[in-house]
């Protein structure tokens, strides 16, 4: 009985344990290393791609990986899979970063507006947030996308609507409680404008929580973008993205699985890396969120 209770009540018992070890765990290092690598690849895409990602090599069509000219093989038009992968990483990261930032800014502004004005402004923001949370985003995005056509800018903006309601709720809650604290009141009494109070004083105090939410949204945006592109409704050819490559490689699943496996592995590794780093950051930065 005693040992069962001890093992089943770890929440209280194990709490002091993580405190002393302050070192970064090896998996987080691996995650960080992967993220650095992938961002470097995205930034240097133009210089490090061995061929133009649209260039044909008709003599070497569907050649398997470890080919002397094409390390990751080629697709059925003889396009170099490695080059396409490098460009895809750039586009997918661009969409994911762009969308995450838009979503964070939009959500935070909405949350601050709700916290500042209260009353009916707050009600509208909360209603929109409820609406956003209640509908599956994939369905909303699908209907918007196909009917607005498919520019990259528009696509990023649309993805930027994903998850704004979480930032809005967090920012509203934190801003309301911060507004009641001494420091915000003090600055206000000196005569600071509301925007100064919110941006210079409240925002830095709640930034860590918002950054943690961004690490949660980021992998989801990558998955969403790749899902839409996989369906042929996201990033459009001749441009390429990770999901696009998987969707395209699916046609050659039996003859040339490497076309699909390389981008698929990249998606999984990247979302995994962001999740690992995000979880660690959350433990580090945000004692309230567990």
């Amino acid at each position: 009985m005693a040992d069962i209770t001890a093992s089943a009540l770890p929440a209280a018992a194990a709490k002091p344990a993580p405190r002393p070890k302050r070192r970064v765990p090896p998996v987080v290092w691996l995650g960080l290393a992967w993220l650095v690598l992938i961002i470097a690849v995205a930034l240097a895409a133009d210089w490090i791609q061995p061929y133009r990602f649209t260039a044909y090599d008709l003599r070497n069509r569907l050649s398997p990986p470890f080919h002397p000219l094409h390390w990751l093989g080629t697709d059925e038009l003889g396009r170099d899979v490695l080059s396409r992968l490098i460009v895809s990483v750039r586009i997918s990261l661009l969409v994911a970063f762009g969308a995450t930032i838009i979503s964070a800014v939009l959500g935070t502004v909405m949350g601050f507006l709700a916290a500042h004005f209260r009353g009916w402004v707050e009600q509208i923001v909360l209603m929109l947030a409820d609406f956003q949370a209640a509908m599956p985003f994939l369905i909303l995005a699908l209907s918007v996308l196909a009917f607005f056509g498919n520019g990259l800018t528009l696509f990023i903006c649309l993805m930027g609507l994903y998850g704004w309601e979480r930032y809005a709720r967090i920012a509203r809650g934190l801003a309301i409680s911060a507004g009641a604290q001494g420091y915000a009141g003090a600055v206000r009494q000196i005569g600071a404008s509301p925007s100064r109070v919110y941006l210079r004083h409240i925002l830095p105090n709640i930034a860590s929580t918002l950054i943690v939410s961004m690490t949660l949204t980021f992998p989801e945006v990558i998955l969403l973008e790749s899902g839409l592109s996989f369906l042929g409704l996201g990033v459009q050819p001749p441009m390429t993205s990770l999901g696009n490559m998987v969707g395209y490689g699916r046609e050659y699943l039996t003859r040339a699985p490497w076309i699909m496996l390389a981008p698929a592995a990249t998606i999984v590794m990247t979302t995994l890396a962001v999740s690992l780093v995000g979880d660690w950051l959350r433990d580090k930065l945000d004692p309230t969120l567990r």
Binding site: M1, A134, L142, G149, G227, F230, L233, V246, I267, V268
Partner: protein, 311 residues
């Protein structure tokens, strides 16, 4: 309690109305359906006739009003492609989708919840670690990758199962697995953390300190309290029974609602897209409503009605 119910119903209706408005605005203002449906070189008279037939020349607010009244009468328009009622087209596809999502839901519940509870009760054991690793994998591997890898292994390499289509129950195995594995992992992770949260509460310590057998503490105190947050996510899963298989249906060429949606979006078939959007909204909103009502049943603190607005 009545007030609580009324507020809930009001909000549900409002959400549906918002979805309808959203659909209408996006779909109507984004392009000219007449030019999309007819070919570019269609004669102007034909285009004019098409516009008139679909009411596209009316002012936008009139079209909006017509749309709302039509929905009130259960009239959701015709597919612009083949002229059949959109609602009928969508309803025809629902059984096929449910044939995937219902077994997948059973799999999620049957594996996810027990695994989560077990992992929480045996924290840091080998099984707990395994559950957590699987849960993270379930979150990071997108369904189309999982589906394609399953096809690669079980259809291409081993030749055990068909890779797509809907001829027999064997065709459903891979799509159900794809949907179920990911969902079970998410649910296991969620249940585990809900359970751990509850197990850390003082009333659990009190109960075991006064000598209640551990099995009874778990059954009588821990499980009912951990069920409350878990019900929320299960409600979300029930709500996505219809819309939750869009990608998986496409991977396995399964003729369900999701496949219809993708095709309709690609063809810009306004009526069908609106119809699916509305159907999804209604399913989602009603399952949220049921979850809210279940809260009232499960959590006596909410039953008093004093804190009707609290989540």
């Amino acid at each position: 309690m009545l007030r609580f119910l009324l507020i809930r119903f009001g909000r549900a209706a409002l959400t549906v109305a918002l979805v309808v408005t959203f659909a209408f605005i996006v779909l109507r203002l984004s392009g000219d359906p007449a030019l999309i449906i007819m070919s570019v070189d269609a004669p102007p008279e034909a285009i004019a006739a098409f516009r008139k037939a679909w009411g596209l020349d009316d002012p936008i607010w009139l079209q909006y009003l017509h749309y709302f009244t039509a929905i009130g009468q259960g009239e959701l328009g015709q597919s612009m492609r083949d002229g059949r009622p959109a609602l009928q087209l969508v309803l025809e596809r629902i059984p096929a989708t449910l044939a995937l999502t219902l077994p997948a839901l059973a799999m999620k519940l049957g594996i996810g919840i027990p695994a989560g509870i077990y992992a929480a009760l045996h924290r840091d054991s080998l099984i707990d670690r395994a559950v957590m690793v699987t849960a993270v994998a379930g979150f990071t591997v997108p369904s189309f990758v999982l589906g394609l890898v399953l096809v690669l292994v079980f259809s291409v390499q081993l030749g055990w199962l068909p890779s797509g289509g809907q001829e027999s129950w064997r065709h459903a195995i891979l799509p159900v697995l794809t949907l179920g594995i990911g969902g079970a992992a998410v649910l296991a992770r969620f249940t585990r953390s809900a359970m751990l949260e509850v197990l850390g509460q003082p009333y659990i310590r009190t109960a075991s300190a006064k000598g209640v057998p551990w099995a009874r503490v778990v059954r009588g105190h821990a499980l009912p309290n951990a069920a409350i947050p878990t019900v929320t996510i299960v409600g979300f899963m029930v709500g996505s029974l219809i819309a939750g298989a869009v990608v998986v249906e496409s991977v396995f060429s399964w003729p369900g609602v999701g496949r219809l949606l993708v095709v309709a979006v690609a063809n810009r078939d306004l009526a069908v897209v609106q119809c699916i959007l509305l159907l999804v909204a209604v399913t989602m909103v009603s399952s949220n409503l049921i979850v809210d009502l279940l809260y009232g049943v499960m959590d006596p603190r909410l039953r008093s009605g004093a804190k009707a607005g609290a989540h």
